[in-house]
């Protein structure tokens, strides 16, 4: 595998954060840890730095739907969406790319750079076959 980071190429990534005081993982990043109350400072100036943890790999599909009521700007007939749970207990919503989704199945989460309905790029999760 080519290590694109060595060439300064941004690799798509969806990041969870880890509380520096109690170690609890959060996604998306909160401004306060709901376990110990530690504050997060996105600038890293006032409070302790929170490590980030990439969200990817095998996870369990908890819920899914095929949606035809999409927002303006997403010119597709439908999209599949799902909610997954990772082995570390974190959960996330994202797009689903599985032919025959079944609640409880194992899927693979990967981060991809995609456009939102307003054409703005973001790194998001896609849940595909293992």
């Amino acid at each position: 595998m080519i290590d694109f980071s060595a060439y300064g190429v941004k690799t798509p990534e969806v990041k969870a954060v880890k509380c520096p005081s109690c170690g609890k993982l959060h996604y998306p990043a909160p401004m306060i840890c709901n376990k110990c109350g530690e504050r997060r400072d996105p600038s890293g100036v006032i409070f302790k730095h929170w490590e980030t943890v990439s969200l990817s790999g095998e996870c369990t599909l908890l819920a899914w739907t095929r949606v035809y009521a999409l927002p303006d700007g997403l010119d597709m007939q439908y999209l599949l969406f799902g909610i997954v749970e990772f082995p570390n207990g974190l959960r996330a919503s994202g797009r689903l790319e599985v032919d025959q989704p079944v609640t409880g199945m194992k899927v693979n989460a990967r981060a991809e750079t995609m456009d939102n309905s307003k054409g703005k790029e973001f790194d998001g999760l896609i849940f595909g076959d293992l």
Binding site: P28, A63, F81, R91
Partner: protein
């Protein structure tokens, strides 16, 4: 705290009002409420106006809506504020109106909720409502409220054995009620044969967010509703002799996680349960004391789920009650006698106010002439559901002789 009664109610028809101005639509409902309360020349007795609206600034390009409404109604110098709490804006405005009076700050409040959503395309309307989702972890993906409605429905079906036919039966009941409501958006009854049993049912009842079909979703509506509230111990009650005052006996609200995926159990709507518990505690009532309810069925599954969270039925048992007619108008626990959001429509800022309008109408006994009166109605409950359950307001209204 002071007792607060609702002394006037007003409503526009819900439907497509996109040829009209947002504030004019709100003013029409407000005028109806003043007329219902018997107020014409004395409208300056309104000291405070709360206006519920979610998207005027986004989809109608109008801001300063509360002050605009006051001026349109010639009600200056009444105090006026806009209340935005997503699809629960309406009941939040009722709550703030109650608080303003109960605190002793004012005696008479007008609460008006309104929304014009049909002036944009369905895709733009869906996008506007989806803007309440988490921007990074939900909205960016193209997730919408129907998407969460679909996922919630699938989990419920898999856990409790609910069928698509059951979902159809909710729509059939709500349309039966809505067909008798002159303000409802969709005043056409539907049959289970047409939307489910027939082999061609999928043609008129296609999927929107699997397993939810078109008859599982509320329509996108325009409209407004309005209430006049007065302190029962105020000398200004003398102005309101035209109608039987209906008391607000309980109000509760609660919040839940912004991201749906962060809930321990995605089927448990903590904010609904807590809002109801707080309203019951304030009213000194229990679930079994509630004669009828308006529950926020933006997706039909929510009628079932909310009815369980507020304690009307055990978890997973509400569909059985539906099948047995318990939630029909002549049943033991009528739900969505107005037609609910499913049939009456869902102009988001108006919905919570409209739900309380229906409580008052039933408690006054004025739904009789429309053929949808709940017999011996003493206490009614409205549950207005914001976000996908992340901000919920419950209101209980009661007859004063109950």
């Amino acid at each position: 705290m002071r007792n607060v009664s609702i002394v006037g109610i007003g409503h526009t028809v819900f439907g497509n009002l996109s040829d009209f101005d947002l504030v004019d639509v709100m003013a029409f409902a407000s005028g109806n409420a003043l007329d219902d309360a018997g107020i014409r020349e004395d409208r300056k007795i309104i000291e405070q106006v709360f206006v519920a609206n979610m998207g005027g600034g986004i989809i109608n390009h109008q801001t300063g809506i509360a002050s605009s409404l006051v001026s349109r109604m010639d009600m200056e110098p009444a105090m006026a504020e806009l209340v935005e709490n997503g699809p629960a804006s309406g009941a939040s405005a009722v709550k703030l109106g109650y608080m303003a009076i109960a605190s002793g700050m004012v005696d008479v409040v007008m609460v008006t909720g309104g929304e014009l959503m049909r002036s944009v395309t369905g895709w733009e309307g869906t996008d506007f409502v989806a803007s309440l989702l988490h921007p990074e972890a939900e909205y960016n993906y193209g997730l919408t409220l129907p998407a969460y409605g679909g996922m919630f429905t699938r989990i419920y079906m898999e856990r409790y054995g609910l069928t698509e036919r059951d979902l159809g039966l909710i729509a059939v009941k709500d349309h039966q009620n809505g067909a008798k409501n002159p303000f409802a958006h969709v005043r056409v009854p539907c049959t289970i044969e047409a939307i489910h049993d027939s082999e061609n049912a999928h043609v008129i009842n296609n999927y929107v967010a699997e397993p939810l079909r078109m008859y599982g979703m509320c329509p996108v509506s325009d409209g407004a509703a309005s209430l006049i509230l007065c302190a029962e111990d105020s000398p200004k009650m003398k102005y309101f002799t035209k109608q039987t005052p209906i008391r607000i006996t309980g109000i509760g609200s609660a919040t839940d996680t912004h991201c749906v995926h962060n809930r321990k159990d995605p089927l448990v709507l903590d904010a609904v349960r807590l809002a109801a518990e707080r309203a019951y505690a304030m009213a000194g009532l229990k679930a079994e004391d509630i004669s009828f309810a308006e529950l926020h069925d933006a997706f039909v599954i929510l009628e079932l789920a909310i009815s369980e969270e507020v304690g009307f039925f055990e978890r997973g048992k509400s569909a059985e009650a539906l099948r047995n007619g318990v939630t029909a108008i002549d049943g033991a626990k009528p739900i969505n006698t107005s037609g609910g959001l499913k049939s009456k429509g869902h102009p988001v800022g108006a919905t919570g106010v409209s739900q309380v309008f229906e409580l008052v109408k039933q408690l006054r006994g004025q739904a009789e002439k429309e053929g949808r009166q709940v017999k011996n109605a003493k206490h009614g409950m409205a549950v207005n559901f914001g976000g996908f359950g992340n901000n919920v307001v419950a209101v209980i209204c009661s007859r004063r002789d109950a």
